[in-house]
Symmetry: C2
Subunit: 236 residues, 2 copies
């Protein structure tokens, strides 16, 4: 947690803001020994980021006063399209994508996505994972998130509207011939399959609808490792 | 698990090899419905990788016969020097580093590494994490791993012997001015600090001993995310 993220209504029309969420208080208690007068980085969700000064500390709340605004880090111009990961991985991969600055995230179905994953209670907690990712990165702006529970309608009807000459869509695919590009200067969609990969029918359908299959070399990465690795390569 | 990794003594002087480790049998049972006659990728630790044919299946063991050799993926020419992560993260970060093909890994102490981390039983399991990483990547060659429980002697006595004009050492550091390089064509050491980062004294000592501090932009990444992200950028 590199900033404390507050909801806008927590800061409306007040000179002094209250940090009272138990998770945030616990983290601050564990990792920072705050005293009155110390500075603390605070962001307002969908708003600005501030350097604040601690003006009061109690068991239930820390009060801070904004001192000056700080720059919110820029997003990566990428739409991450991800086969819904299994619940245990979902939290980390969403946090990471948000931390790395992905602008938009779509979670899609695929043959190797177990149907039960769509029922997991973790999907109700996406907003919490986004908060954790933003607090890690020092960002305040949540990415747009969409869920597509059917693969074919997404690929045939939605995906083509996202692709243009200036905005290609890359599918990470172990058996592609072309290597994933690097240091690109334009926006793109990045499509990452499930554990075990897309099935050939799915790869074919993606290509038929305008995607470019790109290889990552001959090491097969876990999806969460792949997302961070590819983003590091695409946007340097 | 994209190959099954066997110990050399499991394959010595035999035409037929036995897969009998419970973890491997369980994984194969869950993810592949193998039948006699199917092919299976098998690697011999520190040796070659093979396409094999399944010749017998029982509850306690799967027998395979090597059919042809396959290429082992090349390593990345990088020595990853990592502040010892907390136990929960250690497994994933080691697995990832191995999967990504890191040639050599050193785990070092640092001010923000809790001393108790050096007592964790997980450190006894590094070899298992390496196996998991190799099986994920389809690799057979384990990286060299070393532990340095004292920061200063490592930085002053060991690190300078690793650095040369052809083999620089980069420290990932949020407040550096120069950006981390990308698409490099030479080998290097990559130094990644603990959660919370190196303290200024440590960064200064690293620089004084020949390291170059390199920034990753103004988003602060978790260490495991950073490792995969930086390697994706350095070696494209």
């Amino acid at each position: 947690m590199n900033i404390v993220l507050l909801e806008p209504d927590q800061c409306a029309s007040a000179d002094v803001w209250q940090i009272s969420q138990p998770r945030q208080l616990q983290h601050l208690g564990q990792h920072l020994q705050l005293n009155v007068g110390d500075t603390l980085k605070v962001g307002i969700r969908e708003g600005q980021r501030y350097l604040t000064e601690v003006v009061a500390i109690s068991e239930e709340c820390i009060r801070v006063r904004p001192v000056q605004t700080e720059a919110v880090p820029a997003k990566l111009p990428v739409h991450l399209i991800l086969a819904l990961p299994r619940p245990k991985v979902l939290r980390r991969i969403m946090m990471d994508a948000v931390t790395l600055g992905v602008e938009r995230i779509s979670l899609i179905h695929s043959y190797r996505v177990d149907k039960s994953y769509w029922q997991t209670p973790f999907l109700q907690q996406l907003n919490d994972y986004v908060t954790l990712g933003l607090e890690q990165a020092g960002d305040t702006i949540a990415p747009e998130i969409q869920l597509y529970k059917r693969f074919k309608p997404f690929v045939e009807d939605v995906l083509p509207t996202l692709i243009s000459a200036e905005q290609p869509a890359y599918v990470a695919h172990p058996y592609a011939e072309q290597p994933m590009p690097y240091a690109i200067q334009h926006s793109c969609s990045l499509i990452v399959g499930p554990e075990g990969g897309f099935i050939p029918y799915e790869v074919d359908l993606l290509i038929k609808n305008g995607c470019q299959a790109m290889s990552l070399g001959n090491r097969i990465l876990r999806t969460e490792t792949a997302v961070s690795n590819i983003l590091g390569r695409l946007f340097v």
